[in-house]
């Protein structure tokens, strides 16, 4: 498995987010903000994000863990623990 550091995970996540919400500016994003509200991501977008995460990081996040990854910060930490 490929090893990723915190910055690389964040960078890959922004690439994923850009596909889903093209107007996001990585320089102004609040990493602690709620993903759904901050980026206007609905359940369909969120699922798409999970699919992309599976493809990029080869990590299948179960639905029961969705509550643990409500901000980008939490999502990066979550992924780093599993990689």
């Amino acid at each position: 498995m490929m090893l990723w550091n915190h910055t690389e995970i964040k960078s890959k996540l922004f690439n994923i987010l850009e596909k889903i919400a093209p107007e996001i500016d990585p320089n102004t994003v609040d990493l602690d903000a709620n993903i759904s509200y901050e980026f206007e991501i609905d359940s369909m977008d969120f699922l798409r994000m999970m699919v992309e995460i599976k493809e990029v990081f080869d990590i299948d996040i179960p639905e029961s863990d969705y509550g643990k990854i409500t901000s980008l910060h939490k999502l990066v930490d979550y992924l780093q623990r599993l990689i």
Binding site: P22, E23, S43, M44
Partner: protein
């Protein structure tokens, strides 16, 4: 120019996908148009041969204007008869009924295109194709693209919108991406560069001032809002709406969904909206009066259950593509189609048939929305179902109070077509179906 909904008045022809003499088959994409809701692929609804192209790329045309002529008899004629000896009969290609002048709000009686037999166009209202009377070229930058060559500019919908709003031709903007696609950041960088030129180079002040001056008073977003408002105002005024509301316990449905998703790969997971779509379709099988159009012939029940699914666009506004024959599809297939149509709606890649064949509409405000939503019927349909946010509520179970996830469902019905008893039967059936999710 097809009518792609009650809120559409005109569109810009962006590109022809066919040329004179091409043979076309039902369902082929023959052109791309730019509406206030984005780019739409226009499909042809009959087999034939393109006899004459009337509209040019870049032209802004009202709904009902002739785009081209298609000879539906030409396949046979070209085999049996020399075309020089007998000129084949020309037939306008895919024209929806036009009952009002183009500048007025589309009438609510307009049925969707694709069924010209039901409401053919009287010949006297087919717009002229006299070049002198053609509408003026559009203000959007598509007119400058070399449509027939390979130089068509690729840009994200957001970049297109911003450039269009600022009156900037996309041809002058360079992409910073390897793909060559122009994104929002490229448009912003272009504007910044032009402003810098104005600030630093004497005599160049006209560049930035031109950009500011080119910002149109009415942006595309405002036009979309205006079109939606006009169509919905008319619907609200002319359709005697009645409203019903019910609360549905979603505990069993969500537990079943969670269990089901544990068995599925992430790509195949289902969202709760898929259960709602399928349950709605199956309830409509039992209560078909709500799956109907109201036309000048009155209440017309539709056989196919094509559920229009309201999608909010990130740049603002709504589109309502239809998922076809939902009652006959599995949950997995419905999920695939919903995913596909949402992505295409947000990247402006919808097909015309998807916007015109809905027989009923669902609006689902989702997990970030309000507890309940009261919709306005999308003519010529006769009902709209609103799904609110699922919230935890006290719920009586076996004489005990428990906390359950509860969904508030509303129904807007057209009183000319149905009454509250019909609507109530539908909501009751929907509730029963959602209590038995394994049967969906």
């Amino acid at each position: 120019m097809p009518s792609l909904g009650a809120d559409m008045e005109d569109a810009v022809l962006v590109e022809w996908k066919v040329k004179k003499g091409d043979q076309v088959r039902k369902g082929d994409i023959i052109a791309e148009i730019e509406t206030v809701k984005g780019a739409i692929d226009v499909e042809v609804f009959e087999d034939g041969i393109v006899e004459k192209i009337m509209a040019k790329p870049g032209q802004k045309l009202p709904v009902g204007a002739v785009l081209a002529f298609i000879n539906t008899d030409s396949v046979k004629l070209h085999i049996a008869v020399d075309p020089e000896e007998e000129k084949p009969k020309e037939k306008p290609m895919e024209i929806p009924p036009v009952k009002d002048p183009p500048e007025s709000i589309p009438p609510i009686e307009i049925p969707p295109i694709g069924d010209p037999k039901r409401d053919p166009i009287p010949p006297e209202i087919v717009p002229t194709t006299d070049p002198v009377r053609q509408p003026p070229p559009p203000e959007v930058p598509f007119s400058k693209n070399k449509i027939n060559g390979s130089t068509r500019i690729k840009a994200s919908p957001l970049a297109k919108r911003i450039a269009s709003d600022l009156g900037i031709d996309l041809q002058v903007i360079s992409s910073s991406h390897d793909s060559g696609v122009i994104h929002k950041i490229d448009v912003e960088n272009y504007v910044k560069t032009q402003r810098k030129i104005q600030e630093t180079i004497p005599g160049k002040s006209e560049v930035a001032s031109t950009i500011s001056a080119q910002i149109p008073a009415t942006s595309k977003k405002e036009k979309m809002r205006s079109a939606i408002a006009a169509a919905m105002s008319r619907s609200n005024r002319e359709i005697p709406h009645y409203y019903l509301e019910t609360s549905i316990d979603m505990k069993k449905a969500l537990e079943w969904l969670e269990n089901e998703n544990q068995k599925r790969k992430v790509k195949e997971r289902l969202l709760s909206v898929v259960l709602l779509l399928k349950a709605t379709a199956l309830a409509l099988v039992e209560v078909p009066a709500l799956n109907a159009y109201w036309t000048e012939d009155g209440h017309q029940i539709q056989e196919a259950i094509n559920i229009g699914f309201t999608i909010s666009l990130r740049q603002g506004g709504l589109v309502i593509p239809a998922i076809q024959q939902v009652d006959q599809k599995s949950l997995g297939v419905i999920m695939e189609e919903v995913t596909d149509v949402i992505q295409r709606a947000r990247t402006a890649k919808l097909r015309s048939s998807e916007l015109t064949e809905g027989t009923i509409t669902i609006t689902n405000v989702g997990e970030r929305g309000a507890e309940k939503v009261f919709g306005i019927i999308y003519p010529p349909q006769v009902a709209l179902i609103g799904f609110g946010k699922i919230i935890e509520k006290p719920w009586a179970v076996d004489e005990m109070l428990a906390i359950h996830p509860v969904l508030t469902v509303t129904l807007a019905g057209d009183h000319r077509a149905t009454d509250g008893m019909t609507g109530s039967r539908f909501l009751e059936k929907l509730n029963l179906l959602l209590q038995n999710p394994q049967q969906l």
